[in-house]
């Protein structure tokens, strides 16, 4: 398992010590995400400032290392973004993990999130990585429940 592209240190670290792993109460919006295939679920909470800036994103739930690390890194990446920027980052992440965006060649705002760039090689795991992002988008769009199916 040396050199494994999926379970890199960053991912293992976020799995072990997830950032912003808590509830925000009261929050500006929240959503529950569910992957019926594996039973994973999580809640994503968002606090926005009056100007519409993302002040805080947090999450809680059960999931594999991939979904937990993805959620953890997402909450960190969202801080300080406008809602529009947050939506744009969700879209970029989606393009990254479906191999539509090549982080080596194209400009992007993904930063450390590029550790997920190899995940398209594991089709069964793409949904694990995307679930927190779909859920965040659901929260911003006022859709209280989100499913990956």
């Amino acid at each position: 398992m040396d050199n494994d592209e999926l379970y890199q240190q960053v991912i293992l670290d976020h799995n072990r010590h997830p950032r912003n792993f808590r509830e925000i109460s009261p929050c500006s919006c929240q959503a529950e995400g569910y992957n019926p295939l594996c039973g994973d679920h999580l809640n994503v909470y968002v606090r926005l400032s009056q100007e519409g800036i993302v002040e805080e994103v947090a999450f809680q739930g059960d999931g594999c290392a991939i979904s937990k690390a993805s959620a953890s890194m997402m909450t960190a990446a969202m801080q300080g973004k406008t809602v529009e920027e947050a939506r744009a980052l969700c879209a970029e992440f989606h393009s990254l993990i479906t191999k539509e965006l090549d982080p080596g060649k194209e400009t992007h705002h993904l930063g450390k999130l590029t550790v997920f760039s190899g995940i398209w090689k594991y089709p069964s795991r793409v949904k694990c990585a995307i679930l927190p992002w779909h859920t965040l988008k659901g929260a911003l769009d006022n859709k209280p429940t989100v499913s990956t199916e």
């Binding site: 398992m1 379970y7 295939l37 994973d40 290392a65």
Partner: protein, 406 residues
């Protein structure tokens, strides 16, 4: 004794190399089994030399294909020791067989308040069809609970049985726990209150010889692909007098004797339940699978699998932090487990990197997961062609998984 190396040569898929040229360890047999050359070559030769529709041609090929198709019915009859060929209905799998009974028998004979008993370890395919019948008829579903070891609470089963019970439908061998249920006894208990007894033998069919007459089974369902045969084909067995009284499940060609716009006369059994062109090659391939199992002999298969249960339990429970889900006294080599706090998905992906194919998730048995308060398990399910060395590979790979997450 089973000559395991010789047997393995019959299954070309066992020679697959996976990622990084690692030899495949295939431990996902509860999902589907590999097919021996005998099955592959008969299916192949059907498509090469015997392609024809059945029951309707006057030409040579059609007659040949029909004969092979119908001779498989006889093979299945003998395999289950059914009383008559009319009792063997080809379906596309266990799921369709259960749906056939639920739809045709259930909707015809169940009334509001009538009770069906299933168990807490059913596959979704033996839950959802009955929920659909409940919608349609107002019948009630009762569920036999599970013990901590993953066995059925038989006392509770007997308490559930009563004058309102019309059908008991339970799994023979659990795909997620490996438990082998005492179905002969359970059938007796069901009949004592006048209920019918249906067996989901999707896994059980590869576990031990089934005798539907001696066991007094009313309906039985299985799939060819879990018995080393092709996908997309399976069997419903039903006692003739029950099938006679049931209306057809689907309408179409082959299931009729005559059709006018005013009237239709249904064909006799078993054709009444086989509307449309069936999976001819699949049925024939399933026949070859049955021949294969009979030639190997049940005794050797059973004793080898028993030693795999013992060895697997030993080497896996020695892995630090491994918690086995399903430790019934009578079980098949199906090992459902958790590993510390590591999510089963991660275990599955990391084992895949080592060439070990397992399944992770709820295994289409969500109520079982709920019963044990877990979202999912990792499951290694073995067939008779698996070896103790392969179990060692799994145990070593699991220790590596622990290292990654340390």
């Amino acid at each position: 004794m089973l000559d395991i190396q010789k047997v393995r040569r019959d299954f070309p898929n066992l020679r697959t190399r996976t990622r990084d040229d690692k030899p495949l360890v295939y431990f996902d047999n509860a999902a589907t089994t590999f097919k021996p050359c005998q099955v592959i070559s008969l299916t192949h030769s059907h498509y090469c030399h015997r392609t024809a529709n059945i029951h309707r041609g006057v030409h040579y090929l059609s007659e040949e294909a029909t004969a092979q198709y119908e001779s498989t019915r006889e093979k299945v009859r003998r395999f289950l020791n059914a009383a008559s060929l009319s009792e063997i209905i080809f379906t596309k799998g266990a799921t369709e067989a259960i749906n056939l009974v639920a739809y045709s028998w259930g909707r015809t004979f169940l009334k509001p308040g009538d009770e069906i008993i299933i168990s807490g370890m059913e596959h979704h395919s033996n839950i959802v069809p009955w929920q659909m019948v409940r919608e349609a008829t107002g019948c009630v579903i009762r569920v036999i609970p599970l013990t901590d070891k993953g066995e059925l609470c038989l006392d509770e089963y007997r308490r559930l049985l009563g004058p309102r019970t019309k059908l008991v439908s339970v799994v023979h061998v659990s795909n997620s726990l490996g438990t082998v249920n005492p179905v002969r006894e359970m059938a007796k208990d069901a009949h004592a209150v006048g209920a019918l007894f249906m067996l989901d033998a999707a896994q059980g069919i590869a576990h031990e010889p089934i005798d539907v007459q001696a066991w007094d089974i009313d309906f039985l369902a299985f799939s060819g692909h879990k018995l080393y045969g092709p996908t997309g084909v399976g069997v419903l067995y039903g006692k003739e007098k029950l099938l006679e009284a049931m209306p057809p499940y689907q309408g179409g060609g082959d299931m009729i004797l005559s059709v006018t716009f005013d009237q239709v006369i249904y064909n006799r059994l078993p054709h009444k339940f086989e509307a449309g062109t069936p999976n001819v090659a699949g049925v024939i391939g399933m026949g070859a699978a049955i021949d294969y199992v009979r030639t190997l002999g049940w005794e050797d298969i059973i004793s080898w699998k028993k030693s795999l249960v013992e060895y697997g339990t030993r080497v896996l429970t020695a892995v630090p932090g491994l918690r086995m889900i399903g430790t019934a006294d009578n079980k098949t080599p199906v090992f459902s487990f958790l590993l510390g706090e590591i999510h089963p998905h991660d275990i599955g992906t990391l084992l895949d990197r080592e060439g070990v194919a397992i399944r992770t998730g709820h295994h289409c048995t969500q109520p079982v997961m709920k019963r044990y308060g877990i979202p999912a398990t990792a499951r290694a399910s073995l067939a008779f062609y698996n070896t103790k060395e392969e179990l060692d590979v799994l145990a070593t790979a699991l220790r590596k998984v622990i290292e990654v997450f340390k």
